[in-house]
């Protein structure tokens, strides 16, 4: 077994569709845990979506983002369309930047994820402030930072099934 490294020059197995959806569902589950208004609780869904949009731009895109957004709109009891709009724009940007971001080692990738997350939050903020909701305070933006910090461990976890070989074969290195 080759140890997983963060360099993307190793050959990975193709991703399975059900795994992508499972992780998104898991992210929704994590963000539905009622932590109240705990500052800095990561934006699990946006992060997972961004991950798959960057890793699999042909599989996961704006359609998936819209669907996930609608579920989050209902689950978090916010206005319909708030999350969908932000996620669709996030997916578009992540799809477009996918080749560029993947060139970098993981810590630098995380640095590029941060503006994506901040942008997503800013869109949601703009949507709600434009209809006269109250400003939630600067602690709101902590979520982006904690999400960006999670990029490194999350990449390992989400790529784990792709590191596994089909069947163990001593003669083949992969």
């Amino acid at each position: 077994m080759i140890q997983p490294t963060h360099y993307s020059n190793r050959i990975l197995r193709p991703v399975r569709d059900w795994f992508v959806w499972l992780t998104i569902l898991l992210a929704i589950f994590l963000s539905l845990i009622p932590v109240g208004h705990l500052p800095g609780y990561p934006e699990w869904v946006a992060l997972t979506l961004a991950f798959w949009c960057i890793r699999e731009p042909f599989k996961v895109g704006m359609g998936a983002a819209l669907l996930t957004g609608i579920v989050m709109d209902v689950g978090s009891a916010s206005v319909m369309g708030q999350h969908s709009l932000a996620y669709v724009l996030l997916a578009f940007t992540a799809n477009g930047l996918s080749r560029r971001i993947l060139q970098f080692p993981l810590p630098q990738q995380a640095l590029q994820i941060l503006p994506l997350m901040l942008g997503t939050q800013l869109i949601m903020l703009a949507t709600r402030m434009s209809v006269g909701s109250e400003f939630p305070g600067l602690g709101y933006f902590l979520e982006s930072f904690s999400s960006a910090l999670l990029w490194y461990p999350l990449t390992y976890m989400l790529l784990l099934p792709q590191y596994q070989p089909h069947e163990k074969d001593e003669n083949r290195p992969i």
């Binding site: 589950f29 845990i33 009622p34 208004h37 042909f58 978090s76 969908s84 060139q103």
Partner: protein, 306 residues
């Protein structure tokens, strides 16, 4: 790059261009936003999605519930004993009023019958528990554990043992959303106990409330208690709502800036009572056909003292 180049390059069948797709999806999201915010016509879609999301929500609540139960289990004997003493004391102090209330209610009924007035609505209610604060950071809402199955419907008033905490704004089969009175969009018609001055109370952010559109010389003092006026036909009259904490009278502005704080434990969690449907108010008197003088405007109307 291992991943991106994995699929054969889709030269021929790539679907619409990314920008076209972006435009389509953004338009769809904006449409949803406008429909939901402006016309409130997406409730059916919300109900449908909520039905699917509900098991997930319930599951996500399980760890929190576990922690709450666990910490409850380890509550010390001293805390329980103190609580018990406090409750007993409170019961004793209110016993006098409680004992007399039945008598007073009967008497009231008889007097009202004598006066041939409409009987006052008896207040019924459904006990519920606040499960958690909704994840939405831009509004102040909580989720309670009763829904349409327990015949809770939007518009019902939610109180705790001290006063009003909010109003049910959405109900799902087994959950309901309560908008707290500290929410910016929530308005409660109130009157001041001391002099009966009527006004409308709005949320002011950061857990505070604000009395808007009261003249700079309005008779309001710090410490005044505000109760619901019942004029809207939704809130029962006389429920305690808030206490005035600060009154700023700046002559530069037409209105005084009056800050209040809620009486009930609005930002705390616990047991609440969802008051039963208040009978609809009698139909408003028909608008007068002839308007002799131009209206003063809505703001002026609310200011008339009772």
């Amino acid at each position: 790059m291992s991943v991106v180049g994995q699929q054969p390059p889709p030269f021929f069948n790539r679907g619409p261009a990314p920008l076209a797709r972006l435009a389509f999806f953004v338009a769809l999201s904006l449409l949803m936003l406008v429909l939901d915010l402006r016309f409130h016509t997406l409730e059916w879609a919300r109900q449908a999605v909520a039905l699917v999301v509900y098991p997930l929500q319930r599951l996500a609540y399980a760890p929190v519930e576990g922690i709450q139960h666990g910490s409850g289990y380890f509550t010390t004997l001293v805390t329980l004993k103190n609580d018990n003493d406090l409750l007993r004391q409170r019961q004793l102090s209110t016993a006098n009023q409680l004992l007399r209330q039945e008598h007073l209610e009967l008497e009231n009924q008889r007097l009202r019958a004598l006066l041939d007035m409409k009987l006052r609505q008896p207040a019924t209610g459904e006990m519920a528990e606040i499960l958690y604060a909704a994840r939405d950071r831009f509004a102040r809402r909580v989720i309670i554990d009763k829904g349409t199955q327990q015949s809770i419907s939007p518009g019902q008033v939610v109180v705790d043992e001290q006063g009003v905490i909010g109003q049910v704004t959405r109900s799902f089969p087994l959950l309901s959303e309560v908008t707290l009175i500290t929410d910016k969009d929530q308005a409660v018609p109130v009157q001041i106990v001391r002099n009966g001055l009527r006004s409308v109370l709005f949320g002011a952010g950061a857990g505070n409330l604000e009395l808007r559109f009261l003249a700079a010389n309005a008779d309001v003092q710090a410490g005044d208690i505000l109760v619901t006026s019942g004029l809207d036909g939704v809130y029962l009259p006389g429920l305690p709502v808030a206490k005035v904490t600060r009154v700023d009278r700046d002559t530069a502005y037409a209105f005084a800036r009056i800050l209040c704080e809620p009486i009930a434990g609005v930002e705390r969690h616990g047991q609440v009572l969802v008051l039963g449907r208040h009978e609809a108010a009698p139909p408003a008197p028909p608008e007068q056909e002839h308007k002799e003088r131009p209206e003063k405007g809505k703001k002026g109307k609310k200011r008339e003292p009772a």
